[in-house]
């Protein structure tokens, strides 16, 4: 091997991986989210990372987005999944006769987008998705469940959030009412810029699209409606008598009722929430870090027909998604986490040559009792083992000398306080485990 040229070990640009402590922390967050999904009666799904291109690109009629990883293997045209929603649609269409409806599934998995790497954007990242799919119909209770799920997930992660909720029928209904629904996409694109370019510029854009000055002003006022349900409903009421507009308001009221019944508290109604995806047709949600509106943590909403490309059966659904990779990356960079408090082991067992075998036995017994104990076996001398424990920032060491072997009473040293105590195996377990809580 010595005469071989070495290859530089490097990972692909824009791909993400964590060092052990960070990974322990990240995994613990994924576990917390998963626990919330489960506690709320969502079942797990784990679809393949690869799909037939024909299936994954059904929506775009086979057109390939540059972002998508697509390749051939033999004669098979394959794509890596870019989200977890199309695989869900494929799965539900395939197994719709066997599943329970409403079908509540979650999936936590990596998705792939070969976009240009930039701050906070990755080419491989985790999505945590939960969706509720109905057969033919789906109660708006499901929308409330998704909003409630957001609150519970972020509570489990220890983050204060604000869940902004709207209903796309309100703006769509107003546009329909003024008979500009052939321009809906242009209008939504303009409204989406409101925050950035301000009211006046947005009004100009809307007028260029063909709205009167009054219509433009009204639409801006509608979009800016924000607050409690009562405030929003009151401020919206006068603007339109269009059926879709009124339906949107009624749905918002109903959603609000169920959100409250489920005990959700961090909601604000905010009509400016539009969500880019064209397929949202009713409720839409977006979650922000409290008081930091610039940091979106996820979004979701109601879509009228999940499986339209695969099946004649109408499958309305509602879903929520957490962009956990981006969120974690941000919190990590802001030193939000106390990484030092994450220990890969609970205690190190320090032995002498002649007590090493006993040390392994004690290690084995501690582990059996739920204590992550490591009996250092690479460093040879007592001194170098202690040094290693220090270097690794281990909180406890268990010292095993001849006396300890004979008495079966072991010395536990707290490396932070230098406090020492003499304990039996049972007491060691209790002390170390209690301390970890």
């Amino acid at each position: 091997m010595d005469n071989k040229k070495l290859i530089v070990p490097k990972k692909l640009q824009g791909f993400w991986e964590l060092k052990p402590k960070e990974q322990m922390l990240f995994s613990s967050l994924l576990n917390k989210i998963e626990e919330v999904f489960r506690a709320n009666c969502f079942v797990p799904l784990d679809t393949p990372v690869l799909e037939y291109s024909e299936v994954l690109l059904a929506k775009s009629g086979g057109d390939v987005d540059k972002e998508i990883y697509r390749f051939s293997k033999g004669s098979t045209d394959i794509c890596m999944r870019y989200d977890l929603t199309v695989p869900l649609a494929r799965f539900v269409s395939m197994y719709k006769e066997e599943l329970n409806f409403p079908f509540k599934r979650y999936q936590i998995g990596k998705v792939y987008r070969g976009e240009r790497p930039q701050k906070g954007r990755f080419r491989e990242f985790y999505q945590c998705d939960a969706d509720i799919i109905g057969k033919e119909a789906l109660s708006i209770v499901a929308d409330a469940e998704c909003v409630n799920l957001y609150e519970k997930c972020f509570k489990a992660l220890g983050l204060d959030v604000e869940i902004a909720v709207s209903n796309r029928k309100i703006i769509a209904g107003y546009i329909e009412g003024i008979q500009k629904d052939d321009k809906t996409t242009d209008i939504l694109v303009a409204l989406d810029k409101l925050d950035k370019i301000g009211t006046e510029e947005t009004i100009k854009l809307l007028q260029e699209i063909g709205l009167t000055s009054k219509e433009s002003e009204n639409l801006i006022k509608i979009t800016k409606s924000k607050g409690s349900l009562e405030e929003v409903v009151y401020s919206l009421k006068s603007y339109s008598e269009n059926n879709l507009f009124i339906e949107g308001i009624e749905e918002l009221k109903e959603l609000s009722k169920y959100i409250n019944l489920l005990g959700t508290t961090s909601v604000v109604f905010d009509i400016s929430i539009i969500r880019g995806h064209n397929y949202y047709t009713g409720s839409v949600f977006e979650v922000f870090l409290k008081n930091r509106r610039e940091i979106a943590l996820g979004g979701g909403g109601r879509y009228e027909n999940l499986c339209g490309y695969f099946s004649e059966t109408k499958m309305p659904g509602v879903g929520m998604s957490i962009g956990i990779t981006r969120l974690f990356d941000l919190l990590l960079k802001e030193n939000y986490f106390d990484l030092d408090s994450f220990k890969d082991i609970d205690c190190a067992i320090i032995t002498f040559d002649e007590t090493f075998d006993k040390g392994l036995e004690i290690m084995s017994k501690l582990r059996e009792n739920g204590v992550k104990a490591e009996c250092f076996y690479e460093n040879k001398s007592f001194k170098s083992k202690m040094k290693e424990a220090n270097r690794r920032d281990v909180k406890y060491v268990v010292i095993i000398g001849e006396d300890e072997v004979n008495s079966q009473i072991y010395t536990l040293k707290n490396m932070q306080t230098a406090e020492q105590s003499k304990l039996s195996l049972k007491e060691l377990v209790e002390k170390i485990k209690n301390d970890r809580m």
Copy 2:
């Protein structure tokens, strides 16, 4: 959408996905393995699914195996990982100045091999790997840890296994002793056929390679050595005085000592365990279902230098791997699991029109207290809700009528026994949770 041609929803051939109950079960097995890894002080790693081809194919000098998924994105030559070991080598080489050594990591993840689909083989499957990597040196205690880890993992899965252990230096040393080490690979390939073609045919093969009849017979006897440490050592002793041969036996003895100190009981020493991979250089292990030698559940061993292609630093390692997808697929097909006992929900809440809101509140409170409760919201009538609970094979229903709302005492019905009881919210939680244990 109605005028669009529907696309047949199908998943790629040779790819694997599970329906919800099976997935719940499979996820629970992965969790159990992960818990064992963690309890034994292994830290998690989660490397990208994609790597530079140059890195992933370092071993083969860039030659592509037909099995590997390889493609280009822009000007980048990319491979999907086909195991978790090469990514580990890449990771350790990159971060060797920051990691703790011995570096004990586990990774549970999907790997990709585009081989021809056949019974029990998949193109995307999970591997559960745990490895211990040393810097310059690594004690044989690490090998014992891996053997012990196997026992603990399969115990956690509820499976009786036999862990067959050998050391490749024994056969390699014998071959060196008879000065046939230029033919080692051919000889190992022949020995690997022993089980299938029998002693006589194997001797013929060995003689064709150039061994004398005595050497061939001895090698067969060595390979067939199996039993307790004492039995194997006794039966091997006389065959060679080669240093490597003797070193192999000494390592086996040392490994056996540590295996015992760690409390491992399901080990058999078996010199016929060779393992295909060329990179194993010392201890080798293979795990079988007890009394079903045809079913290999995983294997592993010691390799002298993990990172030879990436780094000048010598990194000896030892690892174990569980082929969980194949194992699960097999157990599922043999109806090993009681899938019916897996419930996606603990109880259904059945309401009338006028008590539905109260039902949602109770659902929310039950969930907060760890009970997976679902308040059916799609079926409208009481009768159709009960029917749905039956169809979904729910064990408990909580019935909420006007009386229940007024008294705050709810009716719990066990759908299996038809037994009914009247319980407060607190009692409901206790009863349902106790029953789940």
